[in-house]
């Protein structure tokens, strides 16, 4: 597909029209910052905690989580306070699981879930 380009330093990375990386291997910290920037988010430590958590979820369970499973995973890994929807919505407004997956360089969560 490759309908758009994300500028990361000198690199030009292909993203799909919803802003997901075309090639997941392109992901690194700078790419995450650029992906977040495209969404109007400046990444701070609290964002990174969630980004690492959702990447860990993907490594452990081989799929990008929907909101409910992500919340439960964060509750176990980072504690109940950080698993609250309000908290996650503040960091990743709108649809936290989708947005965090995008910035974390994960594939788009499955359609069926």
């Amino acid at each position: 597909m490759g309908t758009a380009v994300l500028n990361v330093g000198a690199r030009k990375l292909a993203i799909d029209e919803e802003g997901f990386l075309e090639c997941l291997d392109d992901w690194d910290r700078d790419t995450a910052a650029a992906l977040a920037g495209a969404e109007g988010i400046e990444l701070q430590e609290p964002h990174w905690e969630i980004i690492h958590a959702i990447r860990q979820f993907y490594a452990d369970y081989d799929h990008a989580p929907p909101m409910r499973a992500l919340v439960k995973f964060i509750k176990i890994s980072l504690g109940a306070n950080k698993a609250r929807s309000v908290y996650l919505l503040k960091l990743f407004p709108g649809s936290p699981a989708l947005l965090a997956a995008k910035i974390a360089g994960l594939p788009r969560p499955d359609n069926c879930l």
């Binding site: 597909m1 029209e17 499955d110 359609n111 069926c112 879930l113």
Partner: protein, 129 residues
């Protein structure tokens, strides 16, 4: 009674899809309602508008379409299973920048939740595999 059918059998290369159709007709004839037929896995191919059946063989897709027209049955194909197998409607084609789409108008693309919902609301759920 209200029925839901889950069809898993590959359309055209197995008998299950046709068995489901015959069952649906017989159930309607006995006064039942087939609320929803959910096509999953390789069964989604039954919903292709591009199927060409030989003149003297059953055209499964249009027979399903007739069931919809006569009884208001919902024919749903799972979105995830369909996308992987190249079965798209106009919306999905647009979303994934594909130039063509091929879902027969009698069928709708749906989420698995709609199968689960049917299992809850219908009196009977029969799986054809």
């Amino acid at each position: 009674m209200n029925y839901a059918l889950l069809v898993l059998s590959p359309a055209h290369s197995s008998q299950g899809a046709r068995s489901a159709l015959l069952f649906a007709r017989a159930a309607v004839a006995r006064g039942h309602k087939i609320e929803r037929v959910f096509f999953y896995g390789d069964a989604v191919h039954a919903a292709s508008a591009l199927i060409v059946a030989p003149q003297d063989e059953v055209d499964l897709t249009s027979e399903w379409a007739t069931l919809v027209a006569d009884n208001g049955t919902e024919l749903l194909v799972c979105v995830g299973a369909s996308l992987r197998r190249g079965l798209l409607d106009e919306t999905e084609a647009k979303r994934y920048s594909k130039s063509q789409y091929n879902l027969h108008p009698a069928f709708e693309i749906a989420g698995l939740g709609q199968l689960v919902e049917a299992s809850q609301t219908c009196d009977r759920l029969i799986t054809f595999s």
